[in-house]
């Protein structure tokens, strides 16, 4: 049967099991919207800005592990989506973004709402396509999903000219796809795995450093079993939080620039470092020259280009984290060998001394709300089981430090690109995926205003998100750097003319609350959480000058921390 490109598009999405498409219509995608209108398999979610569509799809993907799908029009629709695509790219999130394009005959003529979208997105996608013939459409969509979800995941953009959506062709969705130029590794090399195990068992001061790759590879269970079997201390990166239960004794907290004293000191002093699905990001490593000076390093990663990119490693293993960890566990069990018990005892003694520093302590105040206290109380009130999204800045670090994630896929933030405006639309994506779960967006008065228009979307779809606005009147992280490194010259970090967030929320038909006293924090959070079917915007007026500690200043060694 012959179908139009638009109908083929919709059928392909249904074949891929797509539940939601986050998007915004426009001229170049009208035929596709017309086809979406006439079916009920795929639900389209109308956002209020294309950036929010990409973040919502991204949040959906991070929470479910399934690819997020975006549909926007040509020109400004596509350029607005770029920030969200780049965000997904930096954090290796599976996403397929469809962008409209002017009709093929007009491409290159500077037509109305034309941009070279393949050109603009090229550096921030895993791959992109311009569909030039309707006969290629189905196969291109299949390829897009295949590329986005396999190997190291990432966003794929498919640019569809308007006439392709109206041209007709025979429809057949390819069951399988194979590409001679793309075949991700499916197994780690057995010899390397054996070598890694041997090295790990010689360790006197071992350390597990694990990242977002564990979450993406669905390897949390294997990692937990592996770490417990060895009894080694473990730290998670910002992207990896929840992959190992945060309440477990072996967990030393997050590492890096605002990581815990014990995690960073254990990194600095370890003799064998086992990096799992982590990429030695500069916010983790600090100064490369001073990084883990006494360690031999094992690195497990699906992406060969991640290995020895910034830090030279001794035993690289290219493969899916879950498969490699399972193989390692099997070898460990078979061999019956165990770590050096005496050395481990001494190592843990040292670690407990570092941990006793209690580096995250803060001074509670009777008058002013401490941002840390809000996150701690949110953790308590939600029983640690909420999906928490965040924006970028101090509140993001407080969330990472004080909400103890025991499960993967629950902590959703823009770690790589650091996109302000991410948290709220991402929470929408999560809430669509899990309508009955508690979804909290921890944000600040700076970040929330970058995608605040989505209060309207939440009204339309009755999304009961809980917005935890840590409002200190400052771009807090900027202010902190200005205090530490620019002698207190607070250039443009103070936010004047803030809206009345309570009234703003109410004007969209939501519930607004303002909380000004520490004594009211817990009660207010409980009250908000009890409103299961309402979005509650909680505006917490917090300490204006609170800083995030500990801090490893950029370019320093991991043992060179500023403590409270």
């Amino acid at each position: 049967m012959e179908l139009t490109g638009a109908d083929i598009f919709v059928r392909c999405l249904a074949e891929e099991g797509v539940e939601f498409v986050f998007g915004y219509p426009g001229g170049a995608v009208l035929p596709i919207y017309d086809a979406l209108y006439q079916q009920d398999k795929v639900q389209h979610i109308l956002v209020r800005h294309e950036q929010a569509a990409t973040h919502a799809a991204d949040g959906y993907a991070r929470a479910t592990g399934r690819p997020g799908v975006v549909l926007v029009t040509s020109g400004p629709g596509a350029t607005n989506a770029v920030t969200g695509i780049a965000t997904a790219y930096m954090d290796s999130i599976p996403m397929v973004a469809f962008t409209g394009q002017v009709p093929t005959a007009m491409i290159g003529n500077d037509a109305f709402q034309e941009v070279d979208n393949v050109g603009i997105t090229r550096p921030c996608v895993k791959h992109n396509f311009l569909v030039k013939d309707v006969k290629d459409l189905a196969e291109t969509i299949k390829k897009a999903f295949y590329i986005a979800t396999t190997g190291r995941p990432g966003p794929v953009v498919v640019d569809i000219p308007k006439d392709i959506s109206t041209h007709k062709t025979e429809y057949k969705y390819p069951r399988r796809i194979s590409m001679r130029s793309y075949s991700p590794v499916t197994r780690g090399h057995p010899r390397q795995i054996k070598k890694a195990i041997e090295l790990m068992l010689t360790a006197k001061r071992p350390m597990l450093y694990t990242g977002g790759g564990v979450v993406l590879s669905n390897a949390s269970k294997s990692l937990t079993e592996f770490a417990r079997k060895l009894g080694y201390p473990i730290t998670n990166t910002l992207m990896g939080l929840g992959a190992y239960p945060a309440t477990d004794r072996q967990f030393l907290g997050m590492l890096g620039m605002h990581g815990t004293y014990e995690a960073n000191m254990a990194m600095h002093n370890c003799d064998v470092l086992i990096a799992v699905g982590a990429r030695f990001d500069d916010r983790v490593v600090g100064n490369v020259e001073k990084f883990c000076p006494t360690a031999r390093i094992v690195h497990i990663d699906i992406d060969p280009a991640s290995i020895s990119k910034t830090v030279k490693v001794d035993v690289p293993i290219v493969g899916p984290v879950d498969q490699v960890l399972k193989e390692m566990l099997k070898l460990l069990k078979e061999s019956g060998e165990t770590p050096d018990a005496a050395a481990m005892k001494a190592w843990w003694k040292q670690i407990e001394e570092w941990r006793a520093m209690d580096c995250l302590k803060y001074k509670q105040d009777d008058e002013v709300i401490k941002p840390q206290y809000v996150v701690e109380t949110l953790y308590k009130v939600t029983g640690g089981g909420a999906y928490v999204t965040s924006d970028v800045g101090q509140h993001q670090m407080f969330a990472a430090q004080f909400y103890k994630f025991d499960q993967p896929n629950r902590w959703i933030n823009s770690g790589g690109l650091g996109t302000m405006g991410f948290g709220f639309p991402a929470a929408m994506g999560v809430q669509f995926a899990f309508p009955d779960e508690t979804v909290a967006c921890i944000t600040g008065e700076g970040s929330i205003q970058m995608c605040i228009q989505e209060l309207s979307t939440c009204r339309q779809y009755s999304l009961p998100i809980k917005i935890i606005n840590l409002n200190n009147g400052y771009l807090g992280m900027v202010r902190q750097w200005q205090e530490f490194f620019y002698q207190g010259r607070y250039a443009m970090s103070y936010m004047e003319s803030l809206p009345d967030f309570v009234k703003l929320a109410e004007s969209y038909g939501h519930v607004g609350m303002q909380i000004t006293r520490p004594a009211d924090v817990e009660g207010a959070l409980k009250e908000a959480m009890a409103m299961k079917d309402r979005l509650v915007f909680m505006d917490f007026l917090t300490d204006k000058t609170e800083n995030v500690y500990p801090m490893v200043p950029a370019g320093s060694g991991q043992n060179e921390m500023i403590l409270v």
Binding site: R122, P123, S181, P304
Partner: protein
């Protein structure tokens, strides 16, 4: 150190810009780049000359391999190989200088492919060093125009870059 990297890639529009974009985005340098389709019209072969430390070259080859359009690549410096570049050079050649230019072209096994009363256009093939040397021996003020193809490379013997 200088490396010649040969790449087999899908003959898709935009494939070249993915490679060029990768180099500019990551700050790698390209000394020369040449690309054309192979006997299989679905494949292009690109030869890229770059330089850097071993670590940088390793990253370059890994990042290139990561591009979806790249089917296969080979660092020519890891095997015995032959390197060639072609140059077309237009040189002033009048009066007494005419014989001298002709003689130099012969020494370098160049071919004169176009002649006017006061110009020679010479075609010369060889390694980049050889082409550089030829340019060096000419009087700079006599050189009107230089066109170079960029380097091509191929492995010696049985070894081949093919799918």
């Amino acid at each position: 150190m200088r490396h010649i990297i040969s790449i087999l890639m899908e003959n898709e529009s935009g494939a070249l810009s993915r490679v060029a974009g990768l180099f500019s985005a990551r700050g790698y340098n390209i000394e020369s780049l040449t690309v054309a389709t192979t006997e299989d019209p679905s494949l292009s072969r690109m030869t890229l000359v770059t330089s850097g430390t071993e670590d940088i070259i390793e990253q370059i080859t890994k990042q290139l391999n990561k591009l979806i359009d790249v089917v296969k690549l080979m660092d020519m410096y890891e095997c015995a190989h032959i390197e060639r570049e072609m140059m077309l050079i237009k040189v002033r050649a009048s009066d007494g200088g005419r014989d001298e230019v002709k003689r130099l072209a012969d020494i370098f096994r160049g071919r004169i492919i176009d002649v006017t009363s006061n110009l020679f256009t010479i075609e010369l093939t060889g390694t980049s060093d050889k082409l550089d040397s030829f340019v060096d021996v000419l009087e700079p003020s006599d050189i009107i125009e230089v066109v170079r193809s960029g380097v091509m490379g191929i492995a010696r013997g049985e070894k081949a870059l093919r799918i």
